[in-house]
Symmetry: C3
Subunit: 347 residues, 3 copies
């Protein structure tokens, strides 16, 4: 609170070209439409271009092609969204963990906790587990046996990690996350489901971020692996033996069934469902609610699902949809009755 920076100071941090008064005082950051005098704002998404002319911000971060039309001071950078994030961090006020172990924490004597790590109230750390330097373990977290939490990784409150999990460095795990529960593996024998022991682990790479209430199951025989730099939103379900490639982004409410492998640099839309035992290539994008039942071998954007319609119209559509096979057959019959059309007349 009450933080303030000279505009030139911000320009230097961003390595930005400054147009305007370097002595301006900036004491906050806001959207173009909400900003007041003293605020810095940014323009990245062209949808918001319309707010530039009337913004009350004192300065705006934007790309070079807009510098001339900016009505206030401008900081010109190649990637305005990334630069906005850097400035936002100047004004953020995120609680930091304090080094040391809260007296209410219950830590097995065989566990190793680095003195620079922060262990919050009511944390439980089980045997042979290792918490590395500058890691922050929030209140109420439970970390099972034979687990490692890497340097500078942060578990927010009430995270649950089962046994035998490897979490790299600089990993963020939000509240309510469960990592390492048994995968959904059962054999039916004489009419009854028998749990297959899940003896694989979960391996989380460096720099991974995991959203609130996401679940990542341990492997059956192989490990479940999230590679470095992948980012996973809230309420995502990741089944046993799944591999997620490096720097892949997975939006909220997505479910990935067991043994599916997703490549690097993929973008998985919210609410997508991926069947088990399939492969998704690198650089694949799936739009929201995509249902994926087969492997996707080529990079590109893929979609499924049907558009929203007023309910009365939708009822008509689905009545016809149900009947599509019949419609197609009837069209074929009709075609047989009439002369051939020219090949180039196709729309």
């Amino acid at each position: 609170m009450a933080k303030a920076f000279r505009l030139e100071e911000i320009a230097t941090r961003l390595n930005a070209t400054l147009h305007g008064d370097p002595e301006l005082t900036i004491h906050g950051i806001a959207t173009l439409s909400d900003a007041k005098a003293g605020h810095i704002s940014f323009l990245d998404n062209p949808l918001y271009r319309k707010y530039l002319d009337t913004t009350q911000a004192s300065a705006v971060i934007l790309a070079s092609d807009l510098a001339q039309v900016c009505p206030v001071a401008a900081l010109v950078v190649p990637n305005p969204y990334f630069a906005y994030g850097q400035v936002a961090s100047l004004f953020a006020d995120v609680p930091q963990g304090q080094a040391g172990i809260h007296p209410s924490a219950v830590i097995d004597p065989s566990a190793t906790v680095d003195p620079s790590a922060s262990i919050g109230p009511n944390v439980i750390i089980e045997k042979d587990t290792v918490i590395k330097a500058h890691a922050v373990i929030g209140p109420g977290c439970v970390i099972g046996e034979r687990t490692t939490i890497g340097e500078r990784s942060r578990l927010w409150a009430n995270v649950t990690i089962y046994y035998g999990v490897e979490i790299g460095s600089d990993v963020t795990v939000n509240s309510g996350v469960v990592i390492g529960a048994d995968g959904f593996g059962y054999a039916k024998h004489e009419g009854v489901w028998h749990a297959i022991p899940q003896i694989g682990r979960v391996i989380i790479g460096n720099g991974v971020a995991i959203g609130a209430n996401t679940t990542i199951d341990r492997g059956a025989l192989e490990d479940t692996v999230i590679e470095e730099g992948a980012i996973i939103d809230n309420q995502v379900q990741i089944g046993h033996n799944v591999k997620i490639g490096a720097h892949t982004a997975i939006a909220g409410c997505t479910g990935i069934a067991g043994s599916t492998h997703i490549g690097r640099d993929c973008m998985i839309g919210g609410g997508a469902c991926l069947a088990g035992h399939i492969d998704i290539a690198d650089n694949v994008a799936l739009t929201g609610m995509a249902g994926v039942s087969r492997s996707v071998r080529e990079p590109g954007i893929y979609s499924s699902g049907t558009p929203l319609q007023p309910n009365a119209e939708w009822r008509k559509t689905i009545a016809r949809y149900r009947n599509l096979d019949n419609i197609a057959k009837r069209l074929k019959r009709v075609e047989k009755q009439i002369p051939k059309v020219e090949a180039n007349d196709d729309n």
Copy 2:
């Protein structure tokens, strides 16, 4: 347990017209088909009209048009479902919080806890947080810094609230809920995702109810806002900067992506997915599993999705569906070959 009321006493509480014996003793409440002698029941959904004639209930709450055909005592009210809720509360036996702070709770000295509030075992309350009168904080809850919990609000066990969250009065938050985690905001720079600090808050209005394991992310720059009286079911995901209008109802497993605004008095069906940066007008209803990729500007009921079919039939349907563009083009070609039909012959 062993609670009992005279029928007249219940009629008075409901402001109902009583048909039948006012001295009847009512010691329980049940559905029309399950009720036994001594129970009161209710009829609201016309689907259950068929159970009225044979009910074993001693009395039934219903609307005036059914009073004459009710075979047992009747309590006539304008809104039988609401009245049933009032009677159910007579027989409910919900554990109440006891004023005071459990000795195992860990409360920062700078936090303010009203003496009438109930703080359960193992609760953690961080610095500068305020818990107002008659609030009930269940066991294992973690409430971060600079947060306010309003009068009479109840957090069930194991709720996690991050820092800088405002929760109004008479709010219900069920177990496993996470409020205030960082929104899913990342900028890609040189192939690596960088988290954008999320410096907005979450504001929850008076009388809001939030179901188990629901997640509500903090805003990026603006706040995430749930207006008064909205009701949200279990496992709903609400992204950063989302606004939910007053008295809107959101059923389970729905996901709402960032910066989307939903109006007042909407009804969002279960399993719906809403894209980010869109607007939904007041009084919009979305049916279950609706996928919404664009703004909805007019009140009304909207749907998407396809009907359930036997698998063999569905395989045929989707083969044709995949081919729909081709079908439409072929139809157009056929139409060009034949004489025009009359305009009014359209089915």
Copy 3:
């Protein structure tokens, strides 16, 4: 670790026919493609038949028709997947609960905890609750009033059980699960939603397994019931008054709305959504992402949803789909203009 078994010893436990050297030492289990010397593997899914010829495993569990082609020692059994599970349990190293109550647990004096039960750190057990013999209650669990946890049932860390819940014997409940929260029942009265007290319970049968972060709501008037041997994956939402039949399997991210009844031995695919107040017969299978808005009265496999397409192709498909009613009407007009086709010419 460092566990080892003679092959004959494993054969005896599995009641398998052994082909090969009974004295082989087996010290691990792995997939056909990952196995090394000293490992046992298995072959069940025909997709993996191709790895049999080159496996480095010392022995393979398989069905009798493959015994002759197995290049290494074979254990022949009728159900290789089930047998694999039995062998996996030999090599599993799952942390076990220790009998007794951790000193940090907070247990109401009126609760009954069997001396053979294991109560972990920071567990909270409220009044009149019963924990039976050999039950294991993981760290951070909160178990409300008037609840019973049956013999040998295991709650992993950070599970929340509300009041008045009955959990049978040999039940597994994974972390983050919430059982017994209020169902989503509200009556609108004068523009405001009023919560209907939910006075039913949740009853979980013997041998049920419940995945991480799954939620099961308490009944409104009736109980919510999960019958014996049902298996439920992660992040499943089960509404009030739902009944799940015995030995039914429900995959992750599925939502089941209130008052729906599902039969025995059903298989519900991941990401499915079931509307409220419907009935699903015994032995029904729903494929992934199925949307079910009506009752399903006959056993069989059912599906809904549309296939994944490259985005450009999908845009064309949905433009036509939106227009399907119009396409069907135009086809009908065309049909009226041309001579009747023969009845048997339908493809």
